[in-house]
Every structure is written in structure tokens, then in C-alpha cells.
């Protein structure tokens, strides 16, 4: 119970409290998933170090600058996407950059954006969904209105229409758009829309929970709305929340890739998984290898992350005991 709680526990814990963390670590799959997720995070943090040891960087156009690596059409000459002792994961078709370092630095971009957006949307979704579901009445109607308007608006079209405005208004013409600005814009856009599905589905749950006696009882005791929302309702929607949060990360990585594809995502030369996959699908028939690395990396990450989510869910549910 302790690890995920957002509120400080008011009561002294039993010293040997076998918390959910321990339950989680006992679960073999959960522990493995945790390890994989941590590994990815570690790699993201240590990307410069690893790149330095390996002796390549993610921006240099090796394939274009050194003869004999890429064909006239930009495809790696060596088989398997140009994998060699020199370039462990091969070369990027076209620009001829090193795939391994791109992949490493790409973790940073993709995961930073996805995590940030997931955190923001989950927080917003939870607050809005639970609060509104509990309060009902005017708040509910206002929320319903806002959610419907936002939902009804096709995000993709909006992005296409708006991103140039953002770019032309906010960025000085003589300067390249700074990385953080791209990140920020993406996170904001994802956040602006991403919280609604969670909020709506939580609202549905909370609506039925709020008529239950235990909520009524807290009300009768004079618990504040905040208390009811945070302490009584939240614990009961935790697994729903977890599902959303863990699904949000891969979804955002994928959406970010789709946006890169449409030219409103992260632009070159910032390394990015999404864009790598998009590029990979372009050259899939000619150079499938290039698709494999970011594709598999994303898949492994998503799987691990979701299995972790499952394991945490199980560890948190008081009613499903140890297996």
C-alpha cells in the first residue's frame, strides 16, 4: 500500500510490513519486468557514457562521409542493414548515422515525452474524473461539456493546423526550435487531450461508488471532499488508473512517432524512436533491419512496462492474495 500512495501515510507502519514492493519482487514476472524497465531508464541516463565507450555519436553522417557504406540510393551496402564490427546495429539508410547511438539517445526523447505526458494526463484524468464523478451536478455537466468539445475535436487535424502557428509565433526565425520547446509542445498537446478518456471512465466508476455506504459514511463523518476523493475513492479506482497509466506510455510513444511522421513531432536531428520506426517502415522492404531495432526495443519496453503494471496491480489488491 505504501509505494504508490500519494498521501503520506498518517499511521506508523509496522516495522516489518511486507509491503507491495516485496510482494512485487516475489512475483517473478513482475520482478523481471521491473528490471527491464529500470534497465531502459539506466540506458537512457547513461547514453552519453555508453556512446563514448562505443566511440560513435548519434549525429554524424558516417554513411555519407565515409565511402563504401551506402549505395547511391542511400541503402547500406553491407548485408543486414550494414551491421559490422564498426556499426553494431548497422547504419541508418539515407543519412548513414549509427543506429546503436540513435537508439540509445532515442530512449531519452521518446521516454521523456511519453513519461511526462503519461504523468500529466494521469494526474489530470484522475483529479477531474474522480472529483467530477463524486461531485456530480454542475461540475459534472461542465466537465461533460468540456470533455465532449475536446474529444470531438480531431487531435490530428488540430495539430496540423496549430503546430506551425506555435512554431512561427514562439521561435525566433534565426534560431532553430530548441529541443525543450518541441518536447514541451508535444507534452502539452498530449496532455490537453489525453486525460479525457481516463477521466470519463473514472467518472463512470466513481458515480457508482459514490452511492455506496462507505462513501456515505465518510461524508457523514464530515470528511472533506478532498478526503473522500483522495482517500476513499482513489484506492478503489487504482487498478483502472494503473491500466491507463501503463497503456499511456506506449500510446504516447506511438502517437509521437505518428506525429513525427506528419512533420509535427520531434524534428531532426534529435534522435527519436518514433521517427526511427516511421523511417523504418519506409525502407522496410529494402532494409528490414533498420526497422527491427527500434521496433523490438519499443515492444520489449511496452511489454515490460505493462507486465509491471499488472504485477503492481496484483500487489496492491488486498483481496487477491499471493499466488
Amino acid at each position: 500500500m505504501a509505494v504508490v500512495d500519494t498521501v503520506p501515510a498518517p499511521v506508523r507502519r509496522r516495522p516489518a510490513a511486507p509491503g507491495p514492493l516485496r510482494r512485487l519482487l516475489h512475483d517473478r514476472v513482475g520482478a523481471a519486468a521491473l528490471a527491464v524497465v529500470l534497465l531502459f531508464l539506466l540506458l537512457a541516463l547513461a547514453a552519453p557514457l555508453v556512446a563514448a565507450l562505443y566511440g560513435k555519436n548519434p549525429v554524424e553522417h558516417y554513411g555519407q562521409n565515409l565511402p563504401g557504406l551506402l549505395s547511391d540510393g542511400g541503402l547500406p551496402m553491407a548485408p543486414n542493414g550494414g551491421i559490422s564490427g564498426e556499426f553494431w546495429f548497422g547504419l541508418e539508410p539515407g543519412l548513414g548515422r549509427d543506429v546503436l547511438t540513435q537508439l540509445l539517445y532515442g530512449i531519452r526523447t521518446s521516454l521523456l515525452i511519453a513519461f511526462a505526458a503519461a504523468v500529466v494526463t494521469t494526474a489530470l484524468g484522475v483529479l477531474a474524473g474522480v472529483a467530477v464523478g463524486y461531485l456530480g451536478g454542475l461540475a459534472d455537466r461542465a466537465f461533460g461539456f468540456l470533455a465532449n468539445v475536446l474529444l470531438a475535436f480531431p487531435t490530428l487535424l488540430l495539430l496540423l493546423a496549430l503546430s506551425p502557428v506555435v512554431q512561427s509565433r514562439l521561435v525566433d526565425p534565426g534560431a532553430a526550435e530548441p529541443e525543450w520547446m518541441q518536447f514541451l509542445v508535444l507534452v502539452l498537446v498530449f496532455s490537453a487531450f489525453g486525460w479525457i478518456p481516463l477521466a470519463l471512465s473514472l467518472r463512470a466508476t466513481v458515480r457508482s461508488l459514490r452511492e455506496r455506504d462507505f462513501v456515505q459514511s465518510a461524508r457523514a463523518q464530515g470528511a472533506s471532499r478532498f478526503h473522500i476523493v483522495v482517500h476513499e475513492l482513489l484506492p478503489n479506482v487504482r487498478s483502472q488508473l494503473l491500466v491507463h497509466a501503463t497503456m499511456a506510455v506506449p500510446t504516447f510513444v506511438a502517437s509521437e512517432a505518428a506525429l513525427s511522421f506528419l512533420g509535427v513531432g520531434v524534428t531532426e536531428p534529435v534522435p527519436d524512436w518514433g521517427r526511427m520506426i516511421a523511417r523504418g517502415s519506409e525502407v522496410f522492404q529494402a532494409d528490414p533491419t533498420y526497422m527491427v531495432f527500434p521496433g523490438v526495443a519499443l515492444l520489449v519496453f511496452v511489454l515490460a512496462f505493462n507486465l509491471l503494471g499488472d504485477a503492481v496491480r496484483d500487489a496492491l489488491d488486498p483481496r487477491t492474495g499471493g499466488r
Partner: protein
């Protein structure tokens, strides 16, 4: 030669070399008589599917102003003159007219006579009034989208607006500048000498329109046919069906054939799907061709390695287009700096990230090899992969170092990659380039507007017909605004020269002078030529007669037939 005929398998880049392959010379009256030279091996019958990812913007002949639409509209529309294509070589001949026109008065008066037996789809003959009415329409409201030349030339005004102030279209009455002494004769009177009238007469805007069939806006959907086919069904954005036109007589038409029974256009499929369907040959894919969609980059490898697929690729030069890296001369006024940029330009790498030599041949000139009497020249030979050392030497001579240059590019994956190449390549010569993505839709506005902040940007330019008349006088006239003169090149001497040459009424003489002027301009390196682009399109295995039209730059539909 460009568009190597029906085999269509000539490897890219190898076909167009050194001098112009094009004899867009004016044909004689005899050459203008029908019927069109038969396509070897062609047989009549069947339905050809034409796949096009997006609907043509316009079908109204006076609004059509794009190569692919010109090309397709040959199926149902005829003009005064048109290009006869034999073995990939184009020759301008009389189409509705008996010849390419007779100039008089030093090019101020041009006379056309219509052929006998030319008729509308309902069988009524095409008259000189129909031709006149069609050209009058180009003055009308709503026809801004078409070329401005008839209004400008016929009124002698430099701007389209001013021309329309003088005459506002058929609603405003009769246009005196065009005479129709009889049913068959059209006489144009121009205030200034005009050398390019025969070429303009081949444009879609020179198509006749019958006043009683002019449905206004709806004419853009269902134009009344004069060509070998007529449109029998058209659901916008979805489908268009063409059938043989009973009013068309083969022996009046020296250009077009009428082999298939029907053409069915399908719109709204994604390019990649279209190409894959044609390659797979399923569900009508074997009988299909594209009208403007080119081979998707995803399939380059397949097209290179799979012999069956390679068969189906039709390759040719994309009309008279030239891709160039435009330098904003106002912001980079120093010739030395521009020259340094020219030398450092990593053209080969930039082409490599876009698909390599398949996409085009590196360019050294402002004009395209597709123009008549074109000659290759290379004023400042540069290494294709860029020559940082030479560029640095050139920079040393500059009055002032360029500082950092902003490169505006269309924000597409391809655009981003090219930007990376340029940043990398120019950096080797010590030039800092800051890439700035621009929304593709707003791109032209953004780079053309008066206070545009970009020093460098890419642009593909083309002339309107295969003479240099619409190149230097339009794009490098210091008096024109950024929309036309996107390099903001200002050279009074050049401007004077333009005015002088414009007075020449004889096409070939005029062209010669213009080529000389081009080299004068190119000495100042106002733009950095990049490539003469190549198109690669697919045709179905059962489709014969496919070649890239040397003028219009896409697969010509009027010559297609089904092999079985």
C-alpha cells in the same frame, strides 16, 4: 531520350544527357494533319484504369494549370495546337488548327484556321466563336487559377489585374482583340509582339468552350468533350468514367489515339496502395496506370531488384522542372558567398537521402534540358559531394563572412533529412546553417513573402512551355516581387535586356538571346541548381504505350492501349 517510349525501362539518369533531346520545333501543316502516328503493337478495346491518389484540381480547360491535368485532359479536350509525340520526341503541331499559327506584323497578329470535321461530342462543329469564347473566359472572375498570358498579351498589360480591368470576361461583352471573320478563322491582335503564341495555343486555356454548354462552376466537373473520349460519369474525389467520343474523328487529330474503349479514373487511394496494386496486378491492377502518382520510395528497392517490377516502371524527365536551392540575394548580397555556397553544396548527399540518381540528374543550369535548343553549360564546376576547401577559399575572398544562414524547408520527413545533409555539408566549409521547418502548406507563402527571414530554401521551378521565355523574364526580373523572383535577384542590366528581348517576335531568335542572358544571370549565382528531376511511374503489366510525356512530365494517357 527522355521518356523512352513504351518499353519504359530505361534506367534513370542515363536517358537525359548533355543536350536537349527535345525537338519541340514547330510542325508544318502537313504534320498537323491527322491521324496520329499509330503506336506500334497497339490494339483497340478494353478498359484502362487510371489510379490517382487525389482528384485533379480542375477539369475546366480554362482553369487547368498543371502538367498531370494537362496530360489527362488531352483525352477529352483539344486545343488550337498540341504536341505530337513520336519516340519520346515532341513536336508542336496544329490540333484543332491546321497549323501552329501564322504570325504577321512582327508577331503582333496571329491567325489560326480550324480544320474541317472537328466537332463537339454532340456532333456539332467546333467554330472560331467557340475558340474565342474559351479564351474570353480566361478574363472572367474565378479563372485567376489559370495562366494569365492570354489576358496579359491580348490587352498588353503587364499584370493580370490590369488586364481584367480592361475586359472582364464574356459577361462584359465581346473582346475586340480576337477576331472571328468566319466560322473557321481566329485572328489574335496583340499590342506588343508575341513570339510564343503557338505554345500558348497548346495550353488548356486555349481550348474552345461552347457558350450554350458553359455550365459555369459545374463545367469544372463535367467539361464538354472535343477529344477522343467524353466524360460520362464523375463523382468527385471518387471516380470518373470516360467513354469513346462519337464526335471525334481520328483523321482530324495528329496527336491522340483512341485504343481503349473506356478509361476509369479512381481517386482517393493512397499512392503506396496504388503502386502495390499495379505491381501485384490484381483486381484490375494489370490494366492500370497512374496519372500523376510516382513510384513510392518504399518500392525503389523492389523496382531495382525484381525484374518483373522493373519492367513496369516508366521513367522520364519531369517536364521542364529544375530543382534549386534558392539564395535570398537580398540577405546574401555577396556573390562570393553565394559562390562558396555553390561549391560547398553537398548535392550528391542531398540526392542520396531522397533516393539517389533515380530521382534526378544533378543540374548546373537554371533552365531545364527539356527546352528547345537547350545547351548544357557549367560556369563554376563544383564537386557533386561538395568541395569545402574550394568554398573556404571563395569565402576568404568575401567582403564579410556570412554568419549563420537560415534554411527554411518543408517540414516533411524528407525535408528534415535534406536539412541535416545541408547543415552537415555546409558546416564542413565553415558555414553555419540553421534549419527551420515550415508547414508544408504555408511553405511558398512563407519563403516568398517580402520580409521572409530565410537565406536559403529549396524550390522547384518550371517554365510554362518549352522555350526559355518564361524563365529569366519572370524569375530573375528585378522588378518582380518575391512570388516570381523568389531569389530577389536585382540586376538593372538584366532587366533592360529582358525588355529588349521581349520585343522579339520570332521564337527561336528570342530563345537564343534568352539563353545568353541566362548565363549572364548565372554568373551571379542567384540560385544553386540542384537537379533536373526524374519521374518514375508504374503501369500495369497489360498496359502498352506508356511513356513519360516529354512536356507534361507524367505518363501520357492518350497513347495507351491494352495488350490483351
Amino acid at each position: 531520350s527522355a521518356g523512352a517510349g513504351s518499353t519504359g525501362s530505361a534506367p534513370a539518369g542515363a536517358s537525359a544527357k548533355e543536350t536537349s533531346p527535345l525537338t519541340a520545333a514547330l510542325g508544318t501543316e502537313k504534320e498537323s494533319a491527322g491521324p496520329a502516328p499509330a503506336v506500334p503493337g497497339a490494339r483497340p478495346g478494353g478498359t484502362v484504369n487510371v489510379y490517382n491518389s487525389v482528384e485533379f484540381r480542375h477539369l475546366d480547360p480554362q482553369k487547368v494549370y498543371a502538367g498531370a491535368a494537362y496530360n489527362a485532359s488531352l483525352l477529352w479536350g483539344r486545343q488550337l495546337t498540341q504536341y505530337q509525340v513520336v519516340d519520346g520526341k515532341a513536336k508542336l503541331v496544329g490540333d484543332l488548327a491546321t497549323d501552329t499559327g501564322t504570325p504577321a506584323d512582327g508577331g503582333r497578329t496571329w491567325t489560326y484556321r480550324l480544320k474541317d470535321g472537328v466537332a463537339w461530342e454532340d456532333g456539332k462543329p467546333i467554330t472560331s466563336q467557340d475558340v474565342k469564347y474559351g479564351i474570353e473566359r480566361t478574363f472572367g472572375k474565378g479563372y485567376e487559377v489559370g495562366p494569365p498570358y492570354w489576358p496579359q498579351w491580348l490587352t498588353g498589360e503587364a499584370s493580370y489585374e490590369a488586364a481584367r480591368a480592361k475586359y472582364a470576361g464574356p459577361q462584359a461583352g465581346d473582346l475586340a482583340a480576337i477576331e472571328t471573320p468566319d466560322e473557321r478563322t481566329v485572328v489574335f491582335h496583340f499590342p506588343q509582339p508575341q513570339a510564343d503564341v503557338p505554345y500558348m495555343a497548346a495550353q488548356s486555356s486555349s481550348s474552345p468552350v461552347r457558350r450554350d454548354k458553359d455550365t459555369g462552376t459545374d463545367y469544372d466537373r463535367l467539361p464538354f468533350a472535343t477529344g477522343p473520349y467524353r466524360i460520362v460519369e464523375h463523382v468527385q474525389n471518387t471516380r470518373m468514367v470516360l467513354e469513346r467520343n462519337p464526335g471525334w474523328k481520328a483523321d482530324t487529330d495528329p496527336i491522340r489515339n483512341q485504343y481503349p474503349d473506356r478509361f476509369v479514373f479512381t481517386y482517393g487511394k493512397e499512392t503506396l496502395n496504388i503502386n502495390q496494386e499495379i505491381l501485384a496486378g490484381r483486381d484490375g491492377g494489370a490494366d492500370a496506370t497512374t496519372a500523376s502518382d510516382t513510384l513510392s520510395p518504399e518500392l525503389y528497392q523492389t523496382a531495382d531488384t525484381d525484374p518483373k517490377a522493373r519492367e513496369l516502371v516508366v521513367t522520364g524527365r519531369q517536364g521542364a522542372f529544375v530543382t534549386q536551392l534558392v539564395v535570398n540575394n537580398e540577405r546574401v548580397p555577396d556573390v562570393q558567398v553565394r559562390k562558396a555556397l555553390h561549391l560547398a553544396y553537398p548535392r550528391q548527399q542531398a540526392r542520396q537521402v531522397q533516393g539517389g540518381s533515380r530521382t534526378g540528374e544533378l543540374a548546373t543550369t537554371l533552365s531545364s534540358p527539356a527546352l528547345i535548343d537547350w545547351q548544357k553549360y557549367d560556369l563554376y564546376p563544383a564537386r557533386p559531394e561538395g568541395d569545402p576547401e574550394a568554398a573556404k577559399a571563395e569565402l576568404a575572398k568575401a567582403k564579410q563572412a556570412p554568419g549563420s544562414l537560415t534554411y527554411g524547408y518543408k517540414n516533411t520527413p524528407n525535408g528534415q533529412r535534406v536539412a541535416q545533409v545541408l547543415v552537415d555539408g555546409f558546416a564542413k566549409a565553415g558555414i553555419t546553417v540553421v534549419p527551420k521547418p515550415i508547414d508544408p502548406k504555408a511553405y511558398l507563402d512563407e519563403v516568398h513573402r517580402a520580409d521572409s527571414p530565410y537565406e536559403l530554401f529549396e524550390e522547384t521551378s518550371s517554365v510554362d512551355w518549352p522555350t526559355p521565355s518564361t524563365l529569366i523574364p519572370f524569375s530573375f526580373d528585378g522588378r518582380a516581387d518575391g512570388d516570381l523572383n523568389s531569389a530577389r535577384y536585382r540586376n538593372p542590366a538584366v532587366d533592360r535586356e529582358i525588355d529588349r528581348i521581349n520585343q522579339i517576335g520570332e521564337p527561336r531568335a528570342k530563345a537564343k538571346e534568352l539563353y545568353a542572358l541566362e548565363q549572364t544571370v548565372m554568373k551571379d549565382v542567384p540560385v544553386l541548381p540542384f537537379a533536373y528531376p526524374t519521374v518514375n511511374q508504374l503501369r500495369g503489366a497489360n498496359v502498352g504505350g506508356a511513356f513519360v510525356h516529354p512536356i507534361y512530365g507524367t505518363v501520357g494517357l492518350s497513347w495507351l492501349y491494352l495488350k490483351s
